[in-house]
C-alpha cells in the first residue's frame, strides 16, 4: 500500500509541478484525438477486415489477387 501511494505521489506531484509539460500533454492529447478519433476512424479502415468476415475469406481473396496474372 505504501509503495502504491509512492507511485501515485510520483505521478500526481510530477504532473502538478509541470511547466512546459502541460503544454506538451495538451499537444499529445490533441494529436491522439486527431489520429485515433478522426484519421483512423474516418480514413483508415482495415480493408480486409471491412470486406470479409473470416480469415478463410481473406486468404481466398489474397490468393486470387496473387494468381490472377497466371498466363
Amino acid at each position: 500500500m505504501h509503495h502504491l501511494n509512492n507511485i501515485y505521489r510520483l505521478y500526481y506531484d510530477g504532473f502538478k509541478s509541470m511547466k512546459i509539460g502541460k503544454k506538451l500533454w495538451l499537444l499529445i492529447a490533441i494529436k491522439l484525438f486527431i489520429l485515433f478519433a478522426i484519421v483512423k476512424w474516418i480514413f483508415f479502415p482495415n480493408v480486409l477486415k471491412t470486406k470479409f468476415d473470416t480469415d478463410a475469406q481473406r486468404s481466398t481473396y489474397i490468393l486470387e489477387q496473387l494468381t490472377q496474372q497466371k498466363e
Binding site: N6, R9, L10, Y11, D13, G14, F15, I20, G21, K23, L24, W25, L27, I28, K31, L32, I34, L35, V39, K40, F43, F44, P45, N46, V47, L48, K49, D55, R58, S59, I62, L63, E64, Q65, L66, T67, Q68, Q69, K70, E71
Partner: protein
C-alpha cells in the same frame, strides 16, 4: 490484381511522407537519451549540481521531441491496413511478433522509466534515478530494434515459409529472423546514426549559446560530452555502414549498383567520391553514366565483397544477366516467377476440386520456383531497376555528411579540450548549421534503403504493385495532404516550443 500506377504512386508517396516525417523525431530520441544518461552519470559521480542542471535542460529538450514525435509512427500501421492490405496479410505472421514485442517494450520500459526520469528527481534515490535514465535510453533503442528486424526481413526475407493455403508467410525460425544479417547491420547503422545526429544537435545548440556568449560553462560541458560521444559513435557508424554495404552487396546487388550508378559491372570497381549523373543515360545504351566523376579505385569491390579485386555487378549485368559471373537475367527470373504464380494457381484449383495428388504436385512445382515469385508480376525486366539518380545522390549525400560530422567532432573536441572553442566563431557557426544537415543525412539514409530496394515490398517475392490495396487513389491522395498538413503543423510546433526553450536557457527550464 493490377492496380493503377496512380494508386501505387500515391500509396508510396504517402508512406514515404509519413516515414520521413516520423524519422525527424526518432533519431534525436535514440541518441539524446544516451547523452543525457552520460551527463547524469557524471553528476552522480561528481555530485556537481552544474551537471544536474545540464542534464535537466537536455531532458526537457528530449521531452519536447518525444511528445511531438509520439504516435507519428502509428500512422504507418494505419496505412498497412488500408493502403497495403495485401502486403499486411502476406507478411502478417512475420511482423506480428516483433511489433508486439516492440509495443510491450516501448510501453513498459519507456513509459514507466520516463516518468521516474522526469518526475523522480526528488522522489527516488540518485542511483535509482540514474538507472531509470539509462533504462529509458536502452528501452528506446530496443524499440527501434524490433522495427528494424521487421524492416530487415523485408529487405532479406529469411526464417519463414509461404503457406499457399492461407497466403501468409509463417515464421519457422525466430532466430533466423532476429539475427538476419541485414537486420543486425541495419539496426547498428541506424542507431549509431541517431547517436551522431543527437551529438551534432547538442553541439549545435551549445555552439549557439557560445555565439551569443551565454551559458558558457553549460555549453562547453555539453560540447565535450556530445563531441566525445559523437566521435566514438561516428567510428562505430562507419564500421556498421561497411557491414550494411556488405550485406546489400550479397542480398540486394541492384541496390548497390544504383547507390554507385554502376551500369556495367567490373572487377576492381571504384567508389564515386563525387559525380554528376548524365540524365540522358538509359539502360543498354553506350553512354557514360557520369558527366564527370572522381573515383576511389577498388573501393567498391572492397566495400561490397571485402576484396580489392572482386567483380561488382552493374545494373546491366543484373538486368540482362552475365554468364561469366553466373548472374541470372531478370527475364529468366520472370519466367521462374510466372511458373511459381501458375503453380500456385493450379494448387488452389486442385485443392478446391479435391484433387489431392495433383495439388501435391502443383505445390512441389511452386516450391521449386517460389524463390523468384515476385518477378512473375513484373511487366518488363527494366521494372527491376530502382530510381538510380535518387538512390545515388541520397547515398553520396549521406556518406559526405557523415564524413563531415566526423571531422566536426574531431575539431570541436580538440578546440574544446584546449579551451579555445569560444574563439573559433567559424567552427561554432559550422556546428550550428550542421543541425539541419544531420537531419538531411538521416532522411537520405532511409531513401537509399527504401528507394534502392524498389520495386520490392518484400525482396524478390512481392513487388509494391501487388502489395497495395485495391482502393480509390483519390482517398489516398486526400489522406496524403491531410498528413502533410498535420505533420507540418507538428513540426512547426516542435521547432517553436524547442526554440523558446533553448532561448530561455538551462537556468529556467
Amino acid at each position: 490484381m493490377e492496380h493503377t500506377a496512380e494508386l501505387i504512386d500515391w500509396s508510396r508517396a504517402q508512406f514515404a511522407l509519413t516515414a520521413l516525417y516520423h524519422w525527424l523525431f526518432v533519431p534525436l530520441t535514440l541518441g539524446l537519451t544516451f547523452i543525457i544518461a552520460i551527463m547524469e552519470t557524471i553528476y552522480v559521480k561528481t555530485g556537481d549540481l552544474w551537471w544536474k542542471k545540464t542534464t535537466q535542460f537536455w531532458m526537457t529538450v528530449l521531452a519536447i521531441n518525444f511528445a511531438i514525435g509520439l504516435a507519428t509512427g502509428i500512422i504507418m500501421e494505419f496505412e498497412f491496413g488500408t493502403n497495403w492490405s495485401n502486403y499486411s496479410w502476406i507478411v502478417g505472421d512475420i511482423f506480428g511478433a516483433p511489433l508486439a514485442i516492440e509495443g510491450l517494450m516501448a510501453f513498459f520500459m519507456e513509459s514507466t522509466f520516463f516518468a521516474v526520469m522526469f518526475f523522480g528527481w526528488e522522489k527516488v534515490s540518485k542511483k535509482m534515478h540514474l538507472i531509470s535514465t539509462w533504462l529509458v535510453a536502452i528501452g528506446s533503442n530496443l524499440s527501434a530494434l524490433w522495427i528494424l528486424v521487421a524492416n530487415g526481413w523485408m529487405q532479406h526475407p529469411v526464417g519463414m515459409t509461404f503457406n499457399p493455403d492461407t497466403a501468409r508467410n509463417e515464421m519457422h525460425d525466430f532466430a533466423a529472423v532476429f539475427f538476419n544479417p541485414n537486420a543486425v547491420s541495419k539496426f547498428l547503422h541506424t542507431i549509431s546514426s541517431g547517436y551522431v545526429l543527437a551529438s551534432v544537435f547538442v553541439i549545435g545548440i551549445s555552439a549557439w549559446y557560445l555565439i551569443k556568449r551565454r551559458e558558457i560553462m553549460f555549453a562547453k560541458r555539453s560540447i565535450i560530452v556530445a563531441a566525445s560521444f559523437g566521435l566514438i559513435t561516428s567510428l562505430f557508424m562507419l564500421s556498421s555502414g561497411d557491414k550494411s554495404a556488405f550485406e546489400v552487396a550479397q542480398n540486394q546487388p541492384m541496390k548497390l549498383a544504383a547507390m554507385e550508378g554502376l551500369y556495367e559491372g567490373e572487377e576492381r570497381a571504384g567508389i564515386i567520391a563525387i559525380g554528376l549523373l548524365d540524365k540522358e543515360k538509359e539502360l543498354g545504351d553506350k553512354k557514360e553514366p557520369f558527366i564527370f566523376s572522381l573515383e576511389i579505385p577498388n573501393a567498391l569491390s572492397f566495400l561490397g565483397y571485402h576484396s580489392l579485386n572482386a567483380f561488382v555487378p552493374g545494373i546491366h549485368d543484373l538486368v540482362y544477366g552475365n554468364e561469366k559471373h553466373h548472374i541470372m537475367s531478370v527475364s529468366e527470373k520472370m519466367k521462374e516467377g510466372k511458373l511459381a504464380v501458375s503453380a500456385l494457381s493450379d494448387y488452389k484449383t486442385y485443392k478446391k476440386e479435391g484433387k489431392d495428388t495433383k495439388a501435391k504436385d502443383a505445390l512441389q512445382n511452386f516450391r521449386a520456383h517460389e524463390k523468384y515469385m515476385g518477378y512473375g508480376y513484373l511487366k518488363s525486366p527494366k521494372d527491376a531497376v530502382p530510381n538510380v539518380a535518387l538512390t545515388f545522390y541520397s547515398f553520396h549525400t549521406m556518406v559526405g555528411l557523415g564524413t563531415w560530422f566526423l571531422i566536426l567532432f574531431i575539431l570541436v573536441l580538440y578546440f574544446a579540450m584546449i579551451n579555445e572553442i569560444e574563439k573559433k566563431r567559424w567552427l561554432l557557426y559550422a556546428a550550428l548549421w550542421s543541425i539541419p544537415l544531420a537531419y538531411v543525412a538521416q532522411e537520405c539514409g532511409w531513401i537509399v534503403a527504401e528507394v534502392g530496394r524498389q520495386p520490392w515490398a518484400i525482396q524478390d517475392l512481392l513487388p509494391v504493385g501487388m502489395a497495395a490495396s485495391n482502393i480509390a487513389s483519390s482517398s489516398v491522395m486526400l489522406t496524403f495532404w491531410l498528413f502533410a498538413v498535420l505533420f507540418t503543423g507538428l513540426l512547426i510546433a516542435e521547432v517553436k516550443i524547442m526554440l523558446t526553450q533553448i532561448k530561455n536557457g538551462p537556468e529556467v527550464h
